[in-house]
């Protein structure tokens, strides 16, 4: 045991003396977190492949049409899926409650919730009188970039609802007549009244010519004059941490810091993997072999050093987080996440060491693997930009689980049960990593010249 600690502390000492290693473990992650935190502070824009948890509380014909339009969108992925794993259509259409949808959002399975509240059907009838279809969205604060896109999509499909209402001839006739009288009495300003009247007149002439199509788009002139009126009113809020009275995530730091932490963890993994390869070529690994230590003890010494470095880098980033005003939602679970990240990433290091430390150019290979894992795990580009097969692939990346464990305890307010998954995966990385390392270390230590 003494000698395992000796290896761990010797390597930590070397890490602190190695400028490159020190940078990648302790400096880069914090720079990364600060940079990305600053960028996402006021981010806009959007990507594709967004998963939406859908809650339909209305269930009227208009809402059903709206839902099937959403399902038909190529960018949006509506949860729950209509098809089961075998590709068979599930009937009746599966539905989520608000609570279930929130759980999906918290776990990161969905990046936003769309709620169609009761009264959607009734509202569809008042569109021509300045009424609006009401929708609610809840977005993941780390996915703010997508919120804008989602709103655009909801408006687009909202207009379709408008269109299909119009295509129902008798219903429209009645609606238009009703509407005209209501507009006349309403407190809309004269310009708006004019705009609505002309819109309605054009509807009437459309009806007369029988040219109504399933899809109507907004009349440009009309919608310009109508100013900020829109047939769709989307009430958006961000996912609050935990239950109702728990803290809401307040800043982009809460999103960027966990990513910074995981980069730091990966830096530790790299530093220790490379240290084994270097010791191999420097011949000191041979000296370790000559000592009474077994190979597995040497591996454990390296693993321990890596785990300690992981704890240090997490402590450093936690300090930075607290300084930036980020609050930890669940301290006990946060500490568990810190420990499990340390052992999980030490496992990743041992696996990498066992697999590649005996190869030529091990350091380069290790960096390449780390970068790929980071990329597929969402360390460099947010997951939602990726095609779905890649999102699935991201499950093999320790980055994904490391970030999830952190966010889960900082602001996602994940319950014990929800945290079990990332925690178990990290423990899995530790165990499997150790096993792979233990199998590979023989070749690493004996195969040398």
């Amino acid at each position: 045991m003494n000698s395992i600690f000796a290896i761990a502390f010797k390597d930590l000492r070397l890490l602190f003396r190695d400028k490159g290693g020190f940078f990648s473990v302790f400096v880069f992650p914090i720079l990364f977190a600060l940079l990305f935190g600053a960028i996402f502070r006021d981010s806009g824009g959007a990507g594709g492949g967004m998963r939406i948890a859908l809650v339909n509380e209305d269930n009227g014909p208009a809402s059903k049409g709206f839902v099937s339009d959403l399902r038909g969108d190529s960018v949006l992925k509506i949860l729950p899926s209509l098809k089961d794993t075998d590709g068979k259509v599930i009937a009746p259409e599966p539905a989520l409650t608000r609570t279930e949808a929130e759980t999906l959002l918290r776990k990161g399975t969905a990046s936003a919730i769309v709620v169609i509240p009761k009264g959607f059907e009734a509202a569809a009838e008042t569109i021509f009188t300045g009424g609006s279809l009401q929708l609610e969205t809840v977005v993941d604060p780390s996915r703010k970039a997508e919120a804008g896109m989602l709103e655009g999509k909801l408006n687009q499909y909202g207009f379709r609802v408008l269109g299909s209402t119009l295509s129902d001839t008798t219903r429209t006739k009645k609606l238009v007549t009703d509407a005209k009288s209501r507009i006349a009495q309403s407190d809309l300003n004269p310009v708006q009244k004019l705009a609505f009247s002309s819109l309605l007149s054009s509807v009437e002439s459309l009806q007369a010519s029988g040219a109504t199509q399933g899809t109507a788009t907004s009349d440009d002139t009309a919608s310009n004059v109508l100013g900020n009126w829109s047939p769709i009113k989307v009430t958006s809020r961000e996912l609050a941490a935990g239950g109702d009275d728990k803290k809401r995530p307040t800043s982009s730091w809460e999103v960027s810091m966990p990513q910074g932490v995981v980069w730091g963890l990966m830096g530790c993994v790299l530093a220790f993997t490379v240290s084994i390869a270097e010791e191999r070529s420097a011949g000191t690994l041979r000296r370790l072999r000559l000592s009474p230590m077994t190979r597995v003890q040497v591996l454990l010494g390296k693993g321990l050093g890596c785990a300690i470095a992981c704890v240090l880098v997490q402590a450093m980033l936690t300090g930075a987080m607290l300084l930036l005003g980020v609050q930890v939602g669940n301290w006990p679970m946060y500490l568990v996440a810190v420990s499990l990240n340390a052992v999980g990433f030490a496992g990743v290091m041992m696996a990498m060491a066992g697999l590649i430390a005996s190869r030529e150019g091990a350091a380069g290979i290790a960096r390449g693997i780390a970068l790929v894992l980071a990329m597929i795990g969402g360390g460099t580009i947010p997951l939602f930009f990726m095609p779905s097969w890649m999102q699935t692939l991201s499950n093999v990346s320790p980055f994904k689980w490391g970030v999830l464990a952190f966010e889960g305890t900082i602001w996602r307010g994940m319950s014990m049960q929800e945290l079990m998954l990332p925690f178990a995966v990290l423990i899995g990385f530790a165990i499997v990593g150790f096993a792979i390392g233990a199998l590979g270390i023989r070749r690493v230590m004996d195969g040398e010249k």
């Binding site: 003494n2 000796a6 000492r13 011949g283 041979r286 000296r287 000592s291 009474p292 004996d446």
Partner: protein, 285 residues
């Protein structure tokens, strides 16, 4: 103390097969300094590697008295190895290197500190103990490389070219250290391709070439058996007379009696002549 029996080791695939060690058997007695002398590529390091258990032989056995095979944990405590290629942490200080390796042998506290002081003193690195190894000269690194082999006070030392790449001053210093270690009763295997070192230092010597031990014994045994005769070179003014003889004193007496000699040189057979006789090559080639 250490017995190597019929060791064989080859490297590389069948097409480019290199037989590094080809049936080496040696017995090293307790308390002696045993020299393994041979040119580059003779198989010395491979033999040492098998003796330490780092290289597994294709054939043959290694036995350390009282510990068995070199890979057992008892054997690990018995063995002190200074590899030919420096194996040190360059970014640690000399003292930190020693403390680290000491801990691997379960040394700690005062015992460790004492041992660190002792070996630093022995190899003459005490003044530089707080400096990082990168800042050491080649000779100093060599000395530290030897010191690390001694940290756990092992009775059996395997020193693979401990003076490689070192200036004459450091070399003499290292040779003194090895003498001192021998005087403490340690058993030492010392590989070198310097004949002077082998003759100065070793009680017995094995001459290796191309993976085989060609001859072994004390210096005088080797020269007597393979060195040929002493050569007496007599100068008579400008002309020289070369006399090979088993009894140089008698020849010199004869030459002196003749009274024409202006100079006399005596070349006793040495390891060079032994190697030449055994291989037909000079070892310096």
């Amino acid at each position: 103390m250490l017995t190597l029996t019929n060791l064989r080791k080859h490297f590389g695939p069948a097409s480019r097969r290199v037989v590094a060690v080809d049936g080496v058997s040696l017995t090293v007695r307790k308390g002696e300094v045993f020299g393994l002398l041979g040119p580059n590529g003779a198989g010395k390091s491979t033999t040492i590697g098998m003796a330490t258990g780092l290289i597994s032989p294709d054939e043959g056995t290694v036995n350390i008295e009282g510990a068995g095979a070199p890979t057992t944990s008892t054997a690990r405590l018995h063995l002190g190895v200074a590899p030919q290629e420096l194996a040190l942490y360059e970014q640690l200080t000399g003292e930190e290197n020693l403390r680290f390796f000491g801990k691997l042998y379960e040394l700690s506290g005062d015992a460790l500190s004492k041992r660190v002081d002792t070996v630093l003193e022995l190899v003459g690195l005490s003044p530089r103990r707080q400096d990082r190894v990168v800042t050491y000269s080649g000779g100093m690194k060599r000395r530290l490389n030897l010191a690390v082999a001694l940290i756990h006070d092992p009775p059996l030392l395997l020193l693979d070219e401990p003076t490689a790449g070192v200036d004459p001053h450091s070399r003499n210093n290292l040779i003194d250290v090895v003498r001192k270690l021998a005087s403490e009763g340690r058993t030492i295997i010392y590989t070198t391709h310097y004949m002077e070192e082998a003759s100065k230092l070793c009680d017995r010597i094995a001459i290796m070439d191309k993976g085989k031990v060609l001859a072994q014994g004390t210096l005088s045994e080797l020269t007597a058996a393979h060195g040929g005769h002493t050569v007496v070179t007599v100068s008579h003014g400008d002309s020289q007379e070369r006399i090979e003889t088993a009894d140089p004193l008698k020849e010199i007496a004869r030459v002196m009696a003749a009274g024409t000699a202006t100079n006399v040189r005596i070349d006793a057979p040495d390891l060079e002549s032994v190697f030449l006789a055994l291989t037909g090559r000079s070892m310096r080639d």
